[in-house]
Amino acid sequence: MCGICAVMLENCKEHFPIGSLLYKMMESQQIRAQDSTGVAIFNKETNKEFYKIDYYRKINGVYCSFTEKVSRERLASSMNQLNKDPDIILASFAKEMNLLKDVGLVRDLELKYKIKSVLGTHGIGHLRIATSSRVNPYNAHPFSTTAYPDMAVVHNGEITNYSRLRSSLELKGYRFFSRCDSEVIAVFIADQILRHGNIEKANYEFINKADGPFTYIVATPDSLALVRDKNGARKGIFGYNPGNKGYPAFWAIATDLSALDSVGATHYIETPEPGKPKIFYNQIKISSICN
């Protein structure tokens, strides 16, 4: 019974602390899950030269977190090394994305990373209650993949044919870092995007191949996709806040209505048709975001 949420600004003239909206939405859904928490927030103005790779490395039986900044020239060799090392677990591979996750409640994440003040154009959040894998920072959502930068996935439900999907992706050479079924969504979508570059088609493909009850949100620098399984067995709703003076208009996605209520996104509340992805495209140009 995890909780997921997302926010995408419709338009704005300033940086906006997306983290504060996600915080409110996550806090209102905290009753659903209390094991771990995470957010991924996209900001096109951050770090244009380097790729940021966050990972956990096993040292004397304990996983410690590390961050590496890698230039484009060194990226291929670094990723190759990362994919081969069995003692490494990826947390995030990004250029524009700020992915923060840990065990504990949303307020613990705030204390550690000050997520409320993280600026951006859109972002996703997740509250986890462990069902299939252990409670530790690297099994927390959002999930990222080495296959494609700046892509994060949060998921509520189960991918019951996880093993089968994972083995078919491993056959193609993709590395998996956790035993969590949600990671397979990230890798699958990354594989599809690399193949045809179409986020909508990628999600349709996943719906066709995946079995079980699930709702997930995929975030890329240009889009947010809310996807429900073909039987509609898991919840997923979105609503709109038209904004006000000094407050930008935005779309919000959540599992529970309380989350939409908490940020005033109660206009045009809808749920996507089961098996039909709802995509929100980021229409904000970098130039329109000014300091």
Binding site: P86, N161, D211, P213, G232, K235, T255, L260, I269
Partner: protein, 385 residues
């Protein structure tokens, strides 16, 4: 919403199959003051952990198609092909024919592999028939294909004997546009060259193979795992396609449990022999040689098997039978765990993983003077040849 669903069920007698939040769009204004408080509370709390699929109410897919590229595709609605190295008299054969026809009329297509003709004068065949070919020389191929055109077999099962079979298979492939399954039991597990010839499927007879010296004393699960690994190895790194050859596992599969095990280990279609045994048992029945009553027995058995097959993925939370995987199996035998990489009962980890974990601990405590890779190699050799 729960109340609404119950009232709806009481009124119509039809349980709701749609998602619980389908009604959300109808309650646009979600302010608790504006709508019924009960609805508001149930909307917020309406999240149940997904129960198992209900095979009687929800769609559980068992379909599988045979045929790649340009070859005509055959779709089976139950992933079974009746197959067995068991002799049949004409009564058994006729009753099997009647039963499969009746199943096909009800939309339940099951295949049949036979090495001889079937009498279709009274009843036209409505199910796919695969003609089994073995011991054929190259110059006989054209005659044989001519014969096939007359009897309209939908597919072929070719018994691959040695390298000399390559030319015959190539010739068959060029002339026959239906699916060709190749029985690779004689050359198992080396069949990459056969896949190169655009074979539609590989048939593996576990009973035959476990009698070979290489697999002597091994479980059938080892054969199935090796077959699946060999197929996966062949397609490794290649673009995923629905046109990959399928794996047909036959031999000693005589119950729903064994069908499910074979499917979990990687079989796409299972060669099933029990229907033949039921058909053959007519001489012990109350009405021996009564084709209609034998056919009825076979038909009922197949319907029962199908319903059992639908129940297995449903209980595991799958809506497709072919999503069952080795991780759904459990074994109490160390041997089976090593040979099939199946988790052990109770601990839900394979024997290899369990031992690996213990050894990892020894290494990290410096109580064992081996590197991780040396240990992994040693463990692999335990489960391998």
């Amino acid at each position: 919403m729960i109340r609404r669903a119950v009232l709806e069920l009481a009124k119509t007698g039809i349980p709701r199959s749609a998602s619980m939040d389908d009604n959300i769009r109808k309650t646009r204004d979600l302010n608790p003051r504006a709508i019924n408080l009960w609805d508001y509370v149930t909307l917020i709390g309406a999240q149940l952990s997904r129960p198992a699929y209900d095979p009687y109410r929800e769609t559980i897919n068992l379909d599988i198609s045979i045929g790649i590229g340009k070859s005509r595709k055959i779709v089976l609605n139950i992933p079974l092909i009746i197959y067995g190295n068991i002799g049949m008299d004409s009564y058994s054969l006729d009753s099997l024919h009647l039963a499969l026809n009746r199943l096909a009329e009800g939309g339940q297509i099951v295949g049949l592999i036979l090495d001889r003709e079937i009498n279709t004068k009274k009843d036209k065949r409505k199910y796919p028939l695969f003609k089994k070919i073995s011991s054929i020389s190259e110059n006989q191929t054209s005659d044989l294909l001519g014969e096939h055109n007359d009897t309209c077999a939908d597919g072929l099962v070719f018994e691959y004997k040695d390298d000399s079979s390559v030319d015959i298979l190539r010739d068959l492939r060029e002339r026959f546009d239906g699916p060709i399954l190749v029985d690779v039991s004689n050359v198992f597990p080396s069949f990459n060259s056969i896949l190169d010839l655009k074979t539609d499927g590989i048939l593996v007879d576990t009973e035959k193979i476990t009698k070979n010296s290489r697999y002597n004393g091994k479980h059938a699960i080892k054969v199935i795992c090796d077959a699946r690994n060999a197929l996966n190895g062949y397609y490794k790194g290649k673009e995923e396609s629905s046109d990959n050859a399928i794996l047909v596992i036959a031999g000693d599969v005589n119950s729903t449990g064994k069908i499910a095990k074979a499917a979990a280990l990687g079989a796409d279609i299972i060669g099933y022999s029990t229907s033949i045994l039921i058909a053959n048992s007519h001489i012990y029945s109350e009405k021996p040689y009564d084709v209609i009553s034998i056919a009825e027995n076979v038909y009922r058995h197949m319907i029962g098997t199908k319903e059992e097959l639908r129940g297995i993925p449903a209980a595991l939370g799958y809506s497709d039978f072919h999503n069952i995987s080795p991780s759904d199996l459990r074994t109490s035998s160390i041997d089976a765990s090593l040979q099939g990489n199946i988790p052990l009962e109770g601990i839900d980890k394979t024997y290899l993983d369990t031992i690996g974990g213990i050894i990892d601990e020894f290494i990290s405590n410096k109580e064992l003077n081996m590197t991780c890779s040396e240990v992994r190699d040693a463990l692999k050799s335990m489960g391998g040849e």
